[in-house]
């Protein structure tokens, strides 16, 4: 058994976000009056509320114990990196290469060794993507890298 870290950290993070949002709204936007609310009124109130709620979640958790959640850093890293590779690569290396690269990165997290199936999967999904989005839905995307 560990301390209830999810609630402590989650609550504190929310409180920090709330405080930052309220502070930013108070500093940057007009608050107005209750009758004529400015653009800052609603976010400032919500930020304050979130700060309070974050503390309500975090403080009681300090004295509580709970099981640690099963975190999967490798899965999270591979999946998020794959999305970034695809997003950044789409207009630089084209749909086909970006898809294949993203699939390879994403498949790194899969619990099965070997590169053969990964390469085959990348090729298959790249083909499917071109068929569905390029030819089927006619989205205007560069298929191949732009030649210099």
């Amino acid at each position: 058994m560990h301390r209830d870290w999810p609630d402590i950290l989650g609550g504190l993070a929310l409180a920090a976000i709330g405080a930052a949002a309220a502070g930013w709204a108070l500093a940057q936007y007009d608050i107005g009056t209750l009758r004529r609310m400015g653009p800052g009124f609603f976010p400032a109130v919500l930020g304050g509320l979130l700060t309070v709620l974050g503390l309500v979640v975090a403080l009681p958790a300090l004295r509580r114990r709970s099981d640690a959640p099963g975190i999967e850093p490798l899965a999270a890293l591979a999946v998020l990196a794959a999305i970034l590779v695809f997003g950044l690569g789409l207009f630089r290396i084209g749909l086909v290469a970006a898809t294949a690269a993203a699939v390879l990165v994403a498949s790194l997290a899969a619990p099965r060794p070997g590169w053969g199936w990964r390469l085959a999967l990348a090729a298959a999904i790249a083909l499917l993507t071109v068929l569905v989005f390029g030819l089927g839905l006619r989205m205007s995307l560069p298929l191949w890298p732009r030649l210099p």
Binding site: G10, R36, P39, I71, L80, L84, F86, V103, A109, L137
Partner: protein, 496 residues
């Protein structure tokens, strides 16, 4: 238009080939995505939302509704055969569905789920038709204060009822409301929290938010799971047929489940999850042999399935007549309609009858299709359950990225999905509900606008929320719910 005229008109509209085809596509794709392990209706709708940009708003709504109940059914298949519920409500179905499947009666469990879903949706449609006309008439008397008070009640109800930690639920709702503030303020034109990014002028992209919170987070959570062995063996044909004594046990749970479901579905903030839990509990209480529950009682499959389908349909009542989504899935539906340039509200029944009645009719037609299609297709769904997830998830990710990109054609949104996905994964790990965040996000701008308008009308006096009888009723109910959850929290602390 009377109810019958409306229904006939709607059936005529929904049976047009150009509309019917999208109903079929929605139901099949929804079931397809819903069967995928760990992916629920929420992720299915956000994943398929971009396809609807290419069609008319009416067809889009009909297709998305098909995706919704198709995904719900697909979720039940996964939870009966593999105990892999994609959503909390199908988790209830697996309580008795999976034991049934283990006893070699998977076919009967699937048939019960199908028949009960169908019965539930038919009763849901009857409730929707009855209530919608009345409510959209009553809603013409609603002012800004009433709307604001009602939406706040919905948010409070969603975060307290059936939640293990109301504080965490509220925190998510408020975070959602805050995220809803990002973008240009409608009243003053001031850019809030955009930090100079032009991509954020229209606010955070709803599809990116939904896909990040549900799609990406669910993929991450399932990637490392080893290949699971479900119930094997042939399913289909004869095995689907129930025995006579099974059939005799069905009508009771179906009716009770549907009644519960259509009641709770129509209330703001509650919805299908709560009603399937309640229906299961009720069935166990009225049963003469409650010890069979959890061991493969057919009533334990029938009641929650009828309830969640009835609730899924009656949840459209507040969404379509008031423009206020009662649960996160309806929030996503409403968001989809707004993207299509349709703002649901009291006038919709009059102004866009083809949309309302077409949708109602498509519920009936879609559920019939679900029943007809799934008898032959069940073998395909079973085969799909055996595809290793490692082959599927990279494709899901790519489709998800292109789906988000297709909304506005900005690669910024793909990068936003990665950031939102990380946040969604961390939230799920710490057991904060991303669904409540989405509900807050969609309702945020509506609440702010109505709140500001109400206080302007009331000359800055908050008493306007108590002077108007409708608003006062909602405020009273909100205060009551808050008091109730405080009392419960206090009791729990004392019990410890």
């Amino acid at each position: 238009m009377t109810t019958w005229e409306g229904l006939l008109y709607g059936i005529g509209f929904a049976l047009q080939p150009a509309v019917l085809i999208y109903c079929v596509i929605g139901v099949v794709l929804g079931t397809f995505v819903g069967v995928l392990p760990g992916i629920g209706a929420m992720a299915a709708i956000s994943l398929l939302l971009p396809i609807t940009y290419y069609i008319t708003p009416e067809a889009a709504l009909i297709m998305l509704a098909g995706v919704y109940y198709g995904a719900q059914y697909g979720g039940s298949v996964a939870s009966i055969l593999m105990r892999l519920p994609g959503t909390p409500q199908s988790a209830v179905t697996s309580l008795d569905g999976y034991p049934l499947a283990r006893q070699g009666r998977a076919g009967v469990a699937l048939f019960t789920a199908m028949a009960s879903s169908f019965a539930g949706s038919m009763i849901g449609i009857a409730v929707l038709v009855t209530l919608a006309g009345w409510l959209s008439h009553a809603a013409t008397a609603f002012g800004a204060a009433d709307y604001a008070a009602m939406m706040i009640l919905g948010l409070v109800a969603a975060s307290t009822i059936g939640s293990s930690s109301p504080a965490k639920g509220f925190a998510m709702v408020v975070l959602g409301l805050l995220l809803g503030c990002v973008g240009t303020d409608v009243n003053s034109g001031v850019q809030r929290f955009t930090f100079g990014r032009t991509e954020l002028l229209d606010g955070i992209n709803l599809v990116a938010l939904a896909m990040g919170l549900f799609g990406v987070a669910e993929v991450i959570a399932n990637v490392r799971d080893p290949d699971r062995q479900g119930v094997t063996g042939k399913i289909g044909g004869r095995q689907l047929l129930p025995r006579r004594d099974d059939l005799k046990r069905l009508p009771g749970p179906m009716l009770r489940g549907s009644a519960l479901g259509s009641f709770f579905g129509a209330l703001p903030g509650t919805g299908s999850t709560l009603s399937s839990f309640l229906a299961y509990a009720l069935e166990r209480r009225v049963s003469r042999r409650p010890e069979r529950f959890g061991e493969g009682a057919i009533e334990g499959v029938s009641a929650p399935e009828s309830a969640n389908n009835a609730a899924a349909i009656s949840a459209f009542v507040p969404t379509l007549t008031l423009g206020i989504p009662g649960d996160p899935i309806m929030a996503l539906m409403l968001g989809a309609l707004v993207i299509h340039g349709v703002q649901p509200g009291p006038m919709m029944l009059e102004a866009r009858p083809e949309m309302f009645w077409g949708l109602v009719a498509s519920f009936g037609i879609g559920n019939l299709l679900l029943l007809v299609l799934n008898l032959p297709l069940i073998g395909i769904w079973v085969a799909m359950l055996r595809i290793p997830f490692r082959w599927l998830y990279p494709a899901i990710l790519i489709f998800l990225c292109l789906g988000v990109y297709s909304v506005r054609g900005l690669s910024f949104d793909i990068l936003a999905v990665a950031a939102i996905g990380l946040a969604g994964y961390l939230l799920a790990l710490a057991r904060f509900s991303p669904a409540l965040l989405l509900l807050g996000f969609v309702l945020g701008p509506l609440i702010e606008t109505n709140l500001r308008r109400a206080l302007l009308i009331g000359r800055g006096d908050p008493m306007i929320f108590l002077d108007r009888p409708i608003a006062a009723g909602f405020v009273l109910a909100t205060v009551g719910l808050l008091a109730l959850s405080l009392v419960q929290a206090w009791r729990r602390r004392r019990a410890r």
